[in-house]
Symmetry: C2
Subunit: 202 residues, 2 copies
């Protein structure tokens, strides 16, 4: 007993394939666009079509870049520190760290993490090129900013093993209570980490 015209059910199905969007949200979005001014759906469609044609990957750090650019803006920027390299899982992580303004070095995007369960090994990630960058360049610190998960930790360990012979410092982002968080809602592992990493009040 379908009562939905095909164009709408098509759009709902397309929305449902996006992460975090279930059938209810997909319907809500489709019916919203039906009522909304034409340019809203037109703009979204144009942006979607342009996405893959006009973007590429920086051959140095594997961050997203414009298709016609040689390297990304960060790699091309002479004012960024040459001696520190931040390793992240995904291009979105670069954005998150850039928005903090707390890092002025360069990045290396792995495009995933090591995961034996999902069959993702070192050769599936941008790891060889990372080791090559460390070997060639004058990098002094490698900050591993993979997610604080089991896979992120394993990847961090692997990276340390791979680059330790080149005399670089390998660090990992601190774990602890999130700022503004509440002890009451923190999980046990986070509290254990926060205890272990406690610092002198000065």
């Amino acid at each position: 007993m379908t009562v939905l015209p095909e164009p709408i059910s098509n759009l709902i199905q397309s929305f449902e394939r996006l992460p975090g969007i279930g059938p209810k949200t997909a319907s809500r979005l489709a019916f919203f666009l039906l009522r909304a001014p034409d340019d809203l759906s037109q703009n979204l469609a144009q942006a979607l079509l342009a996405l893959k044609n006009t973007t590429g990957m920086c051959p140095v750090c594997f961050n997203i870049t414009l298709a016609h650019q040689e390297t990304c803006d960060i790699c091309a920027n002479p004012h960024r520190d040459q001696d520190s390299l931040c390793i992240v899982e995904e291009p979105l992580d670069v954005l998150m760290i850039e928005q903090t303004g707390g890092f002025n070095g360069r990045y290396h995007v792995l495009h995933g993490v090591l995961s034996p369960i999902e069959g993702i090994g070192p050769e599936d990630l941008k790891l060889a090129s990372l080791v090559e960058r460390v070997r060639k360049g004058d990098i002094r610190e490698v900050i591993v900013a993979t997610n604080p998960s089991m896979e992120g930790d394993a990847t961090a360990l692997y990276i340390r093993q791979q680059v330790s012979s080149y005399g670089v410092r390998v660090t990992r982002l601190a774990r602890g209570l999130p700022v503004g968080g509440d002890l009451e809602y923190a999980d046990q592992n986070t509290i254990l980490r926060a205890l272990a990493g406690r610092q002198e009040i000065i």
Copy 2:
């Protein structure tokens, strides 16, 4: 300090204009599509472009219909009851009620509710055509299924006033505890309504 290539920030901005999608979700969707197979973003774009060109509004009930159809499938269906009319705010509400299979009459979509605060009066809704349908047709019951909000209630009252002279029964969907819900999490108004509408166990 923007580090995002324009095609991505464009897509993020387009997603952000949709209801319930904030900057974080918009970024996540854009970066997901960047990694996902091409056809995912292509299909969504095509569905968006087709939406407005291929859909129209049923001239009888104002539900969504295909552009080339004269009336919607429900209005055109001779097996649907002619004598009961369900009034809803939006086309999505038709879908929600149809999915229950609990109603076999026809619909009338108001495309909004009366809201003096937002300056929406009777002439902004499909109310005149509703009164006309009741006047002309052999409708015996009008079920007002506007949302259980202040505006939905006011609109229901207005409809009752407008059609009462035609000798039709005007009803409203029952209020009470949602099925599977928990008294502990119900708000006071819902509990008050559930108490007032309590029914004999038989």
